[in-house]
Symmetry: none
Subunit: 226 residues, 2 copies
Amino acid sequence: MKEGPDIAQVAACLGEPARANMLLALMSGMALTAGELSREAGVTPATASGHLAKLEASGLVVGEKQGRHRFYRLADPDVAHAVEALVTVSARLGHMRTRPGPKDGAMRRARSCYDHLAGSLAVDLFEHWRTNGVFGSLPETFELTRRGQELLSERGIDVTALTKSRRPLCRRCIDWSERRHHLGGGVGAAILSLALNKGWANRKDSSRVVIFTPGGEKRFVAWYSL
Amino acid sequence: MKEGPDIAQVAACLGEPARANMLLALMSGMALTAGELSREAGVTPATASGHLAKLEASGLVVGEKQGRHRFYRLADPDVAHAVEALVTVSARLGHMRTRPGPKDGAMRRARSCYDHLAGSLAVDLFEHWRTNGVFGSLPETFELTRRGQELLSERGIDVTALTKSRRPLCRRCIDWSERRHHLGGGVGAAILSLALNKGWANRKDSSRVVIFTPGGEKRFVAWYSL
DNA sequence: TTCATAGTTTGGTCCAGACCTAAATGTTTC
DNA sequence: GAAACATTTAGGTCTGGACCAAACTATGAA
C-alpha cells in the first residue's frame, strides 16, 4: 500500500514490557541465556521462550545454542542504535522508572553501549583522538588513518586482526547522556575489552554501568592520551 | 522495578500500523491535519483521533489548533531520529510495506512528497546543489546562500516571493526509497510546479507517481545542473 | 440564521496476543 | 542407565485495545 519499510512490525516487538526489558538487558552487549532473560523480564520461562522466538523471527536478536543453554544477543549494532534512540526519547519525556540516584552519576561517566564504551569518558576519548588525526573523515562508519593504526598498535590493539572482520572498524555512535559522539565498531569494542582485561574497570553485573577504579581511570586516560 | 526509561511505552505507540503510518507521514517535517493523517493511516477520523490523542499524550507529536483544523507534527528531532533508527532496522530486515510492482520503478524515480519532488531524481538534484554550495549549513530547515539565490532566480524561480511566505524556504526531507535527503520547503514546491508547468512531467492521477517524459527528464537535469 | 465541514466523544464489538500450567524434548551430571 | 536442569511446545483463559457508527462540539461559509 504505502512505500517504505514496515516499522510497525519492529516497533511492536519492542513495545511489549517483557520484550523491552529483555532487550534492555541485552544492551550491555553480553549474551544472556533464555532463563536469565525470563527472570529479567519477570515472566515464566515458557512465556519468555515465546517472546524470544518472536524477537528472533523479527531479526532483533540472534540465539545460539550451547549445551543445554541457549544464549541470546542483539542481532547487530543497528538494533542497539534503535534501542538507544528510543531510550533517548522516553528519557526526555520523563518516562523514567527510576529517579536519578547515586548510580546515575556513574552511568553518565562510563557505561557499555552494546559492546563498546559510552559516557563522558568515552566521549572525551573520541574527541581527543578525532582532533589528533586518528580518524579520516567521519561518516557513519569510517577508517583509521595510518597514524591511527600505528597509535593503536603501539597501545596493544591488534588492528590487522580487526580489519579481517566484516564489522566496520570504527563507527560513530551517539551518546545519549552527552549528546555527542563516542567510538563504536570493532575498535570501540576492543578498547572496552582492553580496559576490562587490564583490570582498570569492571562491569557492574546485570547493568550497563562500567566502574573504573580510581587508579584505573587515570591509567586509562594516560593510555589513550597522545 | 528495573532501572532505565520505559521504552516499552513509547515503542508500543509506534508499534501499531495506523500510528506508525501517521508518524512516517509526519517525517517529512510538515504539519498535517487530523483528517489527512486519518487518510494516510487508512482508518476513520474517529479512530485516528484516538490514536493522535495517544501519540500526543506520549509526547511523540504535538497538536496545534488552527481554525477548525488541528495540525499535528513530530514533537522534536529526537522522535524523528528514533523513527529513522527503526526504519533502518526494519529496512535491513526486508520488512517492506510495498510489494514490488511495475509502478514501483517509476515511483522510485520520481514522485510527489506532498507538494515537492521525491525519488532518486530529487535526491540527485539535492546532492548536486548541496555539493555546489547552493545551501549553507543543513539543519532541519535552512536558507539559500547568495549564490543559491542567484542560481534559482536565473532558473526562473521567484525567490523573493517565496521569502515573503511564512513557510521555510528550504527543508530537508527524508526520501524513503533512497534513504537520503531531498529538498522540500518553498523552493522544493516551486521546483515541482515548475517541472509540471513546463510540461516536463505529469502527475499520474490519484497516485503520487510523477512521470517525466523522456525529453522532459533530460531538460530537467540540464535545468538544475550547474 | 442555517448548512457544511473538521474533529472529538461515547458505546459496544471483536480479535490478537500475553500469560499461565502441564507435558514434551534435549543435555549434562552422577 | 536415572535424575536434574534448561528450554520449547501445546492447550486454554482472559484482557487490552483497535475499530466503527453515531451523536456531539466547534468553526467557517452561505
